[in-house]
């Protein structure tokens, strides 16, 4: 991650760079990675979860209501990880 940040810092113009600039560049470079990496797991998780829920509903349409409630609960827990990644992104980018 640090190497990538350094690479990003080098490709940006090398004129007059203060410490604050360097910090901003490193933050911007790692902010994207923070969110991108955080989205992988929940992406796979939610896809799998909803797929299984749909197949359960297709097999047993009378249980659809219960499956849907449980599915939303599962999505809420899985999605939290991606959202924490998003908050980290916000903190890195703007704070």
């Amino acid at each position: 991650m640090e190497a990538l940040a350094r690479l990003a810092a080098e490709t940006v113009d090398t004129v007059a760079k203060t410490a604050a600039d360097e910090k901003n560049i490193a933050a911007a470079a790692s902010a994207g990675f923070a969110y991108g990496l955080a989205a992988i797991g929940p992406g796979i998780g939610i896809g799998y979860l909803v797929g299984q829920a749909v197949s359960a509903m297709a097999r047993q349409p009378e249980a659809a209501g219960m499956v849907r409630t449980t599915m939303f609960l599962g999505i809420a827990f899985t999605e939290a990880l991606a959202l924490i990644g998003f908050v980290v992104f916000i903190l890195l980018k703007f704070a």
Partner: protein, 252 residues
Amino acid sequence: MFALEFPPINEILRWREVAPSLNKVGIIAVAAALIAIVVFILATRQDHRKAPTGVRNFAETTVEFVENGIVMQTMGRDGLGWTPFLLSLFVFIYLCNAPGIIPILQMPATARMAIPAFLSILVWVIYNGAGIKHQGFGGYFKSVLFPPGVPKALYALVTPIEFISTIIVRPFSLMVRLFANMLAGHILLVTFALLSEALFQARDKVLVPFGVLPMFMLIFLTGFEVLVAFLQAYIFTILTAVYIGGAVHPEH
């Protein structure tokens, strides 16, 4: 290529104060509470023996949704006493989320940390309080920290995990889920609005027709936000119901 300046985060979140410590987010939150109170009071004024009309129709549908879709699914018949609390939570969060897509307002009040933080602390106090009330102080913490059916030696591992997940992570994740979803939606709308504006006003005239693309995306995302506003209110309420149900009736 074209001038695209993303405004600093404060510009899209912080608003000029109308009165000391009352800005747009505060007004939206107060209005949400007032609208909910007025609608439900008007609904109760109607004669309940006649067929419901207008406001009462709407209020009955909402109450029925909370009873059948949230309470019965998670807590069962015993939990129906919690309907008033869950209903007010649901309606308030929904009315705070909805202004995110209402023109002119264009700001979900829950995209500022204050409201989700307050609500999740409230929920934390309530589900812990309900658990302590129903099982006693010792009984509640025994059922939370020492779940039955676990080999004795594993308690060294299970108890800290249970403590962190039940007492610390739950309110935090409840808060972050609502806040981050609404903030993400808001920033997404701002981004696409800015993109289409920049393309429509591009100096290079070839680019101007392409401004339609982000605009379509903006329209699509606005529709998506309608769904998200409802879904987040629903998820917050249903998780509250699950937490309260778990605290009141522990697994044996």
